[in-house]
């Protein structure tokens, strides 16, 4: 019934949200919609939503984060690729390097562990200059997640 339109070779969704917790739900919903287009199972979709929420939270928790979060969802026949990026930073100098306290750093780190268990591939880059830039991918029908 819901397979009326098959995704073409590649579909791209880009979303820019304010870097605030109340907008994270929109990022979750956008990613869920793209995952649903690829016919991911309900559990897989829930995993994707959780991973996106964790990634957004990591961006927001990073001190000196920018005004926006840029979310990019790429649907490639059996692969969902998502990028969550801190955007619109004012560009901190190295001397002003964010002073994350240990607990924050640890919690942001735990978020990444969690993302790793939910997605098939994760890579990220965190720096005082560019903030958080996280890439993750999930393949359709990979068991064990």
């Amino acid at each position: 019934m819901n397979a009326a339109v098959e995704p073409s070779d590649k579909e791209l969704v880009e979303l820019r949200i304010p870097s605030r917790p109340e907008w994270v739900a929109l990022a979750r919903l956008a990613a869920a919609t793209v995952a649903n287009r690829l016919h991911f199972s309900i559990e897989e979709i829930e995993d994707v939503k959780l991973a996106v929420a964790e990634a957004c939270t990591a961006v927001i928790q990073h001190e000196g984060h920018g005004e926006f979060i840029d979310l990019t969802c790429e649907a490639l026949s059996d692969l969902l690729r998502i990028r969550v990026r801190d955007s619109g930073r004012h560009g901190l100098q190295r001397s002003e390097a964010p002073n994350m306290n240990f607990d924050e750093a640890r919690i942001a780190g735990l978020g990444v562990f969690l993302i790793r268990t939910l997605m098939d591939e994760v890579s990220y880059d965190v720096s005082p200059q560019t903030g958080t830039d996280l890439l993750m991918a999930k393949r359709l029908g990979v068991p064990g997640h």
Partner: protein, 267 residues
């Protein structure tokens, strides 16, 4: 950097705990000796030290409709498994090692509870509730209600309302062949497998295998109708509204579908 200092001390202490624990664990693994209380004590201490990790992870799954306490409990089972398998030679921090085990245990719990079937059902119910409440509030307010008003009225989150409106409809149209079980080693279960058979209208359908086969003769639309009507107990009028056809048409399609099912099962 007092916190950092504290964290370093904590980590050192955890490592020392693991050293003592693993040394004993290996010793007991090679003998039939009953572990001394000290061993259990160390194990317990390791659990306590890492309960925050379990809570951190359990909270992330708390919006899926199971009590947080239960999730912490099953998460702790995962933690114990990780403690019993961890080795310092692995070259990874225990937290890294334990996270997938704890998450795995929590997810298994949801699977055992048939969560993948419940989610669409909960969203569908909320979707219906939103429609009803929205009609009701429109009358009392004299205008269309806001999402905030609906959320208050239904005691649900605003996110949930939006999601139910959006996804509730999508899930309504899930094919009965949709997989509802994520277990890799089991034969995957489809929605059709989970359709209840106790209904008066479907008394004939006692055998699940037969049922599954029988559903094959139905068209997509007939399946949806039978599913909504007998599994979700949705009225014909409501089904008609969802499928954007007349109630008479639903009635005819339902009769035809039941006739087809009976014919197949009579063979």
């Amino acid at each position: 950097m007092q916190e950092r200092e504290q964290a370093r001390r904590d980590r050192k202490r955890t490592r020392a705990l693991f050293e003592r624990f693993i040394e004993r664990r290996k010793r007991y693994a090679q003998s039939d000796q009953t572990p001394e209380p000290e061993y259990e004590g160390l194990r317990e201490e390791l659990v306590v030290v890492h309960l925050n990790l379990v809570r951190f992870l359990a909270v992330r799954f708390a919006n899926r409709g199971e009590p947080l306490d239960d999730l912490v409990q099953v998460g702790t089972v995962g933690l114990l498994k990780a403690i019993d398998r961890f080795d310092l030679d692995r070259g990874v921090e225990f937290t890294t090692y334990a996270t997938p085990t704890i998450v795995g245990e929590i997810k298994r719990y949801f699977r055992d509870k048939g969560w993948a079937v419940k989610v669409p059902r909960r969203l569908q119910e909320l979707n219906l509730a939103v429609n009803r409440a929205s009609d009701k509030l429109a009358i009392s307010l004299g205008r269309s209600p806001t999402v905030t008003e609906l959320a208050q009225h239904l005691q649900a989150g605003e996110d949930e309302i939006l999601e139910a409106q959006e996804l509730g409809q999508a899930y309504n149209l899930l094919s009965l062949d949709s997989e509802v079980s994520g277990e890799a080693d089991k034969k995957s279960q489809t929605l059709a497998d989970t359709v209840g058979v106790a209904d008066a209208g479907l008394e004939l359908l006692e055998d699940r295998a037969n049922l599954e086969q029988a559903f094959g003769v139905l068209s997509g639309r007939e399946r949806v109708i039978i599913y909504l009507r007998f599994y979700e107990s949705v009225s014909q009028t409501e089904i008609a509204k969802r499928l954007n056809v007349s109630q008479m048409h639903v009635s005819r399609l339902q009769a035809k579908a039941l006739e087809k099912l009976r014919a197949v099962l009579a063979d």
